[in-house]
């Protein structure tokens, strides 16, 4: 486990639904995420993806089992803040995670909480805004930004804290196609260029094709995991889990069923064109 940045060991979690009733949201989830990896987490509504995400930076603590971040146990009080610095969470609604009244103030928020010296904060805020391409709007009021821009500000606020791992819980769900592209480009740049480990939760299958690994969740358990090529090869019955195949793998599978032996690892248009022509 030397190079695994996040490890969960038989993680279970239950929500109390008032009175004696409980709901098991996570059921014996064991997974390891390697440093620098780009992992996509998919699964139907209520399968426990958000609950899992909140365990990764100690917002929720396991009912049973353990979660390790960089070797630190999330259950231990004294590690809590260090864990939250190392694993940053970006949420779905861009409006509800921006605290301050200007872009740069908001990016500084996490650093201010960590008690970092003001000149260092300034420098890091500037770097983070440059990284997500928002430097020109540093003085802007958040409510005047587009959804994609707000979400990039939220990402900058996390990146400024220099986390090892970025966990994004449906960051593109409320965005238009353009905003979605902006945010996706930012995430994959951070993974490739800055070597930040990424855990990306999404309902858009198209977004998962770039991942190193896809983890499919269902009813609080890991249903399966593998590379995009493995997951979308057509052998797995994603429809029964209530999920769609992305367009190209679906087409490839249809062609295969029609008798054309398209290789199962065909994920994008280029690969399909290469095969067909």
């Amino acid at each position: 486990m030397s190079n695994s940045i996040i490890e969960t060991v038989q993680l279970c979690y239950e929500y109390t639904l008032g009175g004696e009733k409980t709901l098991r949201a996570l059921d014996n989830v064991s997974l390891q995420i390697t440093e620098g990896e780009y992992v996509c987490l998919i699964g139907p509504n209520g399968s426990g993806k958000s609950t899992l995400a909140r365990h990764l930076n100690a917002l929720l603590l396991p009912a049973a089992g353990d979660v390790y971040v960089d070797g630190l146990l999330t259950g231990e009080e004294k590690h809590r803040w260090e864990i939250r610095r190392r694993v940053g969470l970006v949420f779905q609604n861009p409006d509800n995670q921006i605290v301050a009244t200007t872009v740069e103030e908001d990016v500084a928020f996490g650093l201010e909480n960590m008690g970092i010296d003001p000149p260092v904060i300034r420098r890091r805020v500037k770097e983070a805004l440059e990284l997500v391409g928002m430097s020109t709007l540093a003085q802007h009021a958040p409510h005047l930004l587009s959804g994609g821009q707000k979400q990039r500000v939220a990402i900058a606020g996390i990146i400024a804290m220099r986390p090892r791992c970025l966990v994004l819980d449906e960051p593109t769900a409320m965005l238009d196609p353009r905003g979605r592209r902006e945010v996706l480009a930012t995430i994959s740049m951070l993974n490739r260029q800055e070597k930040v480990t990424v855990v990306h939760i999404t309902h858009f299958m198209e977004e998962t094709l770039e991942a190193d690994r896809i983890i499919v969740m269902d009813r609080g358990k890991i249903a399966c995991s593998g590379t995009p090529a493995e997951i979308f090869s057509g052998e797995l019955d994603l429809e029964s889990l209530g999920m769609d195949m992305p367009a190209i793998p679906a087409l490839a599978r249809a062609l295969r069923e029609g008798g054309l032996p398209v290789p199962p690892n065909t994920l994008d248009v280029d690969q399909l064109v290469d095969y067909l022509c």
Binding site: F91, V99, T101, F109, E112, P118, H143
Partner: protein, 267 residues
């Protein structure tokens, strides 16, 4: 409703005058000193000097006076009401005017005018400060000034944080209320006709969804803040460091001196 969007807290008007450039902490301290002076002044001549000082500061701030008066309007009703109450119900001294059981007497006129002047000066001085200080700087200033009161468990940092979050979310919630209003109007809700009580009742379908959404936002925000290591004001730093300059010291000392002089002339 379109006017609603234009409401900003305190109606801050950016500018570059000395008053604009002063540190918010210096301004708030100056304001406190002046308010204290207002309550110590016992004569009309004291108010006259105070007014003179106000006019000088106001002119130097280069605020447009029309804009200033507009900010004053809502308070004028209260001032007028105070005046009427004193005129009618404070008795004593010579009777100036009599109509059946109603009389206006010397003490009422005196005390009424005195209180009214004090109230007006209080309001315009405060307004002058709020109009020349950005709300965020204001929040910072309040946090600083409340710091000594922490021993009495006054949550200065929390108050400032609340102000910041309110400022951040007021435009968002206004946009949302606009959306809800349109959605309810499309369903046949009527916000424009009827008397005041009817209108107030008609606001319920607007306010209920707005509150529900505000609470959900608050919940989300709390989680997001916690996940960004927020744990209250202890050991927290601030990116925006305000530099206290000679101007700030000068401002506070001058205000102190002038306030003392005014109070002493009136004794």
């Amino acid at each position: 409703m379109s006017g609603m969007r234009s409401i900003t807290l305190g109606h801050y008007l950016p500018g570059n005058s000395i008053l604009h450039r002063l540190d918010p902490r210096a301004k708030l301290m100056g304001l406190l000193i002046l308010i204290a002076a207002l309550f110590l002044i016992k004569t009309f001549s004291g108010f006259f000097y105070f007014g003179l000082f106000f006019v000088l500061t106001f002119v130097s701030s280069r605020l447009p006076w029309r804009y200033f008066m507009r900010g004053l309007k809502p308070v004028l009703y209260i001032v007028f009401f105070t005046l009427i109450l004193h005129f009618l119900f404070t008795k004593g001294g010579q009777v100036f005017w009599r109509f059946g059981p109603l009389t206006i007497e010397e003490n009422g006129v005196f005390l009424g005018s005195f209180m009214t002047l004090r109230l007006i000066l209080l309001v315009i001085t405060t307004l002058l400060v709020t109009l020349t200080t950005s709300p965020i700087a204001f929040a910072d200033g309040i946090e600083f000034l409340l710091r000594p009161l922490r021993v009495f468990r006054v949550p200065g940092h929390e108050i400032a944080m609340m102000m910041t979050i309110a400022l951040r979310f007021i435009p968002t919630l206004m946009e949302e209320s606009d959306k809800i209003r349109k959605a309810q109007m499309a369903r046949g809700a009527d916000f424009e006709s009827g008397n005041i009580f009817r209108r107030a009742r008609n606001l319920v379908p607007l306010l209920v969804p707005l509150f529900v959404s505000a609470f959900r936002r608050a919940d989300d925000l709390a989680v997001a803040m916690e996940s960004r290591c927020y744990r209250g004001g202890d050991n927290r730093t601030k990116m925006r460091q305000q530099q206290v300059t000679c101007l700030d010291y000068l401002g506070v000392f001058t205000t102190c001196g002038i306030a003392a002089a005014i109070v002493l002339t009136g004794v």
